[in-house]
Amino acid sequence: MTMETSTTKSLPDWPTLLGDNARTGGQRKHQTHSPEKAIWQFRGSAVRSAPVLDDDLLYVAGINGTIYAIDVAKGTSKWKFAVPGQVHSTPSLFGNAILFGCDDGKVYAVDRHAGRKLWEAPSQGEVWSSPVVRNGVVFFGSADGKLYAIDADTGHAKWSQELGGRIYSTVHAAANAVYVGCGDGKVYCLDAESGKIMWSTPTGNGIDSSPAVADDIVLIGSEDFFVYALNASTGEVRWKYETGLGIASSPAVAGDFAAIGSKDGFLYAFEFHTGQLRWKTAVADVITAPPVIADDTICIQAGGLFALDQSTGKMLWRAGLGGSIQSVPILAPDTIYLASLSGEIYALR
């Protein structure tokens, strides 16, 4: 008989980039409106990644290695935590920890209320992907070409698996399998328990995009210009759609709606199950960030913040703030939080 000693296995998972397929950062879908004013502005360091929000604290990872916990009521820093490398990784939240990767090759877990380190886990290359959590296990890919599984309580290694290239894609962790894109151009499915490669499906170029997984479909973009929908059990291509340039953006999915940006500057919306194009809208010169799906609205950062009608793709409003190529806004019930490459963090209402 074995005793369950983990304290984290009963906690809610954070299984994919920004917590869920809609990329809400744990905020769930709800209505969002055109903001009228900034209620505060916080000056940090340049930010590439997306902020995350919980318990009235906004967590922002600066490229310079400073993690800020910002009190959203005041717009002031509650604590700061510095790591010895640059940070490009979007943080994840799990229990009382904020998890993020660093260019020093480590993933850090920091107490998100006190701002002190809980543990760190090493790899041999920079970690730009987000660490995700499922069933008490943290999964992350590294530029060293390996995918790692570590214990969420301790940071101790469970397994690692070498893939064929750099890994900048964030894992999607399902119940028994994990899915990830790789710089070698393949989409991989690994057994979550052992790390054994179950299948891999090649695309025509490297993969920077992070997958969304639902209804036995893995959706991901490739630098070969295509969006791929793969059978999650076998890796077989169910449908694919060609955009005008490479895809670094990650898909957002809600029900039968899926959206992804392309470096050709368009945001594309599909029927998730069939791949039928619903609409495509020219948003900016280039899109590399993932979109976030709100209720009837889809938002994306592409040198500014853009909001489109989910059903038609019509541009609803835009805000010339948040100059960023990778960040994602947090759409809270009454406020939009926005990070920028210039280091400004905005709360818009």
Partner: protein, 385 residues
């Protein structure tokens, strides 16, 4: 005595080079009347290398071309591999690609690959070509960890997705973030000092990675026009990608890219370490460079040029872009007509008759006069494969 005068006084009697009144090669009515003094300071006691520009093969440019190397914006890795091998053996006269590369790179080198991600994703140094260069460098015994792919701005490298697309083990370095300032990442003793428009900071410092870390540089420019310098090729990719604080040399409609681009390329150790230039002409931008994303002005000729002489290479590039502009009825890069100038970058990006600056393509010939290579087309050994 102000701060800068004090610093300059401290330089007198050292290895600094003062160049005054260098012929900018442009009409007097299109530039401010006073050509500034440019003070150059190289790395102290650095011994110049015979591999330095114009390198082992002055005046020789190998142009390999295959229409199928790029189809609908997708580059063929196998074709690029073949083009590069053929071009390198033709350049060096060696029978094998490995022996060709060994003329420039030794196993103990720290090899910098200077990409041009500016303009990504529409036109930047292709990751497919960088992969081939990395493989070739490794073939002569350089471990992956001693290969550094670099450029000035991290966010532009990010836009090109180089981090995800290049092999494991190699380092990928952005010298500075988009909004950082100061001289972090730059060597304060190596600089170009000139006051072009009354700017407060008159110095541009050399990147530390060039001054101290890499021992050889493989330069991978793209084939583009440039709103200020006329073209951005081998010379400009090295100069303005190595020194900081360079945007100050343009103030619309004027630009001092000539003579500064060539002058910067003479500064040691940049000159000595830059042993090979591989121009990515998979795409050719004939208007809107360096940042355009407008596909109307981007052609896909599938060209790869190889040489050690950046002046000869840029001369060929300049001719090709001029020819393409003529073909499309666009004004010459040499045209200095005030009516063509617009302050509106959106107009510039969509109208090939407009420009933001009086372009300075004369920077290529000026670099030739500095001894960096051959600018006379008749003297260039231009071999087509």
């Amino acid at each position: 005595m102000d701060r800068r005068t004090f610093v300059k006084a401290g330089c007198i009697g050292s290895a600094s080079l003062l160049i005054q009144g260098l012929d900018p090669g442009v009409r007097a009515d299109t530039v401010p009347s006073i050509t500034p003094t440019v003070e150059l300071r190289g790395l102290a006691d650095y011994k110049a290398s015979p591999l330095g520009m114009p390198g082992l093969f002055p005046g020789r440019v190998i142009e390999a071309r295959d229409r199928n190397a790029i189809v609908r914006n997708r580059i063929s890795q196998p074709i690029v591999h073949r083009l590069l091998e053929r071009a390198m053996t033709e350049l060096t006269g060696e029978s094998s690609a490995r022996d060709a590369w060994a003329k420039f790179i030794q196993p103990n080198d720290i090899v910098g690959i200077k990409i041009n991600p500016s303009g990504a994703p529409a036109c930047c140094s292709s990751p497919e070509i960088i992969r081939e260069i990395i493989a070739a460098v490794r073939s002569v015994g350089v471990p992956a960890r001693n290969i550094v792919v670099y450029d000035r701005y991290s966010y532009e490298i990010d836009l090109g997705s180089y981090q995800a697309l290049l092999p494991t083990g190699v380092q990928i370095v952005g010298i500075q973030d988009a909004f950082t300032s100061g001289v972090v990442g730059y060597e304060p003793s190596v600089y170009c000092d000139a006051n072009f428009f009354g700017e407060w900071e008159t110095r541009s410092y050399m990147a530390s990675i060039v001054a101290h870390e890499v021992t050889k540089i493989i330069n991978v420019p793209t084939m583009k026009d440039h709103s200020a310098s006329g073209v951005t090729g081998a010379l400009k990719n090295l100069a303005y990608g190595t020194f900081n604080n360079v945007a100050r040399t343009h103030r619309a409609p004027h630009s001092f890219t000539n003579p500064l681009i060539g002058l910067m390329c003479t500064v040691e150790p940049l000159r000595s370490k830059s042993v090979l230039h591989i121009m990515d002409g998979m795409r050719l931008v004939w208007h809107g460079g360096p940042l355009t994303q407008v596909q109307d002005f981007i052609e896909q000729p599938g060209i790869l040029m190889v040489g050690t002489d950046p002046v000869a290479m840029d001369t060929i590039e300049l001719e090709a872009i001029e020819a393409k502009r003529r073909e499309h009825g666009a004004p010459s890069l040499w045209q200095h007509d005030s009516s063509s100038i617009t302050p509106d970058s959106n107009i510039f990006f969509h109208d090939a008759t407009k420009n933001l600056f009086f372009r300075q393509p004369g920077h290529v010939a000026a670099a030739g006069k500095l001894g960096l290579g051959v600018a006379d087309l008749k003297q260039i050994d231009h071999r087509l494969l």
